[in-house]
């Protein structure tokens, strides 16, 4: 208990408590009408209430399907292109300028085009998630794979590893910390992007729930999906963090 409530932790909780207190204060002392700013207790009880309803769960599932599909495709594409670009100078010469051009491009601007090409269903949203999550994963993989300690590769080659095996036996494991860092960034981006895409146009999902609430000025119901997606982001991030520290247990500073 003493360890959990260390001064550092208390110091960290302080601003969060302060913000919630300020929020509560604004409502209690009548600075903000509850219609515009529902009190925190009300928002969280509404959140718990919603979480057990079937309709809200369906929204979560719709969002999660798009999130995971888009993210998974991004991981597969990002890792393979990143490793290929690090391994082959020819592929690198092609990939590098394309990535240079596409990485800083605001992918969300492509969304209208995706809607036209892939329709308003899952396809366009999954593609948008993939497009956004792809580059951090690709770039970290490329970075990790091209900075693998040369002498690790030499050691493996001297032990009789064939050139074709080096990729899987040395380069990928050695690049794993960088790859997982990229995945972590990509995952949070996926959460954000899927939600925004659903807000811009959708018939279901958490983002859609927020927009529906906004149209009818239901402030409480606007907070609920927003908090849900943020919690999902935090939980997924923590899960990936746990996976990361398991996979990288041998690496220093993992």
């Amino acid at each position: 208990m003493a360890r959990i409530l260390s001064p550092t932790v208390l110091l960290g909780i302080a601003p969060i408590v302060l913000i919630v207190a300020l929020w509560q204060g604004l409502v209690s002392f009548g600075f903000a009408p509850a219609v515009l700013l529902p009190p925190p207790g009300f928002v969280f009880s509404r959140l718990l209430q919603q979480l057990v309803t079937w309709t809200f769960q369906q929204e979560i599932v719709a969002t999660l399907i798009r999130l995971f599909a888009g993210f998974a495709i991004a991981v597969v594409l990002g890792v393979s292109i990143g490793v290929a670009a690090a391994a082959s100078p020819a592929i690198n010469a092609v990939v590098r300028p394309i990535v240079r051009v596409l990485a800083p491009l605001p992918k969300v601007a492509l969304y209208p085009a995706l809607l036209l090409l892939l329709g308003f269903g899952h396809g366009s949203k999954i593609t948008l998630v993939t497009a956004d999550a792809l580059f951090p994963i690709l770039l970290s993989t490329y970075y990790g794979a091209s900075t693998v300690e040369q002498k690790l590769i030499w050691s493996a080659m001297a032990a009789g590893t064939r050139r074709t095996e080096i990729l899987f036996k040395v380069v990928l494991p050695a690049a794993m910390p960088a790859i997982l860092t990229g995945c972590r960034i990509g995952l949070v981006i996926s959460c954000i992007v899927v939600f925004l895409a659903e807000m811009i146009t959708s018939t279901d999902g958490l983002g859609h729930a927020l927009v529906t609430a906004a149209r009818t000025f239901q402030a409480v119901d606007m907070f609920v999906p927003l908090i849900t997606i943020s919690l999902l982001g935090l939980i997924l991030n923590a899960l990936l963090g746990a996976l990361r520290s398991y996979l990288l247990r041998g690496f220093p500073e993992a």
Binding site: E149, K151, L152, W154, S155, A156, M157, A158, A159, G160, T161, V170, P173, A174, M176, L248, R249, G250, F251, P252
Partner: protein
């Protein structure tokens, strides 16, 4: 403890018998040129020829930047020479192979594998069955003095322990030649001395050929049968010195041995001369 051999007996017993030693590695007129920038070439090695006999402990000694590590990498097959060739048992070396095992200053252990996993990597790669590879590896780990650390990750070990693991990992696939690239260069003086002793003890058992790169004069003299002195810019062989000291060698005895002292002083004088010739940067 054996006493310091009396002076008379030293002359009676020839130390390194000129056995019918066969050449295991031949380096034939090897040059290595790196392009450092668009305008300038750096000649790391210039026309090096050297023959290394089977079972010999040969050190390559020189200042940093003389290309001694590059020469080792060429023998390892990690780097191809710009011209000339290195041969292993008469075959031109075209790439790395398990007949030549490297031990690097940076240890280069696989961080995602435990000590046991690292040592087993080579035998498994050679197709040795898991159980057998494990038994051999455990024995090797014990030999390098790390019994009890089999399931540790490299990050949990000190520098000296990491280098012991690296040595065991290389010995595990039975290379005919050990290529040691300043293996003790990153260690503190005390650990360094202990590892030198342990390396000699391990080497005494099967007397594998060792090519040992170092910039420490007394390390080279203490360990080797032969010291190849290199000078830099361009990297050339300056002298090859036979170290006719008896084996098994003990550090405490050698330090008092005038022949050891003479070798060290002679070599250092030669380096001083080349330094006085002017800064060769």
């Amino acid at each position: 403890m054996t006493a310091v051999p009396a002076r008379s007996s030293e002359w009676v017993r020839p130390v390194t018998l000129p056995e019918p030693a066969s050449a295991i590695i031949e380096i034939d007129r090897v040059s290595q040129v790196f392009q450092t920038s668009a305008r300038k070439d750096h000649v790391a090695l210039s026309d090096i020829s050297l023959t290394i006999e089977e079972g010999a402990f040969v050190s390559i000694l020189g200042p940093s930047g003389c290309g001694k590590s590059t020469l080792l990498y060429i023998v390892g097959g990690f780097v191809s020479p710009t011209s000339g060739a290195a041969k292993m048992k008469g075959q031109v070396i075209t790439g790395p192979g398990p007949d030549r095992g490297p031990v690097f200053q940076e240890f280069a252990l696989f961080p995602w594998k435990t000590v046991l996993g690292n040592v087993m990597y080579g035998p498994r790669q050679q197709g040795v069955r898991a159980a057998e590879a494990e038994a051999q590896s455990r024995a090797l780990i014990e030999m390098v003095g790390l019994k009890g650390y089999e399931n540790f990750y490299p990050k949990e070990l000190s520098g000296g322990m990491k280098q012991r693991v690296a040595l065991a990992r290389t010995l595990a696939y039975h290379p005919e030649v050990l290529l040691m690239d300043e293996p003790f260069g990153a260690l503190d003086a005390h650990t360094r001395t202990r590892l030198q002793n342990d390396l000699l003890n391990i080497w005494e058992r099967d007397r594998k050929t060792v090519l040992f790169v170092t910039h420490s004069v007394d390390e080279a003299v203490f360990l080797s049968d032969k010291v190849v002195m290199m000078s830099k810019s361009p990297g050339r062989i300056r002298a090859v010195i036979d170290i006719d000291l008896p084996r098994p060698r003990r550090r405490t005895e050698l330090l008092l041995d005038p022949r050891y002292q003479k070798h060290v002083v002679d070599i250092e004088r030669m380096f001083d001369e080349s330094d006085e010739a002017g800064p060769s940067l």
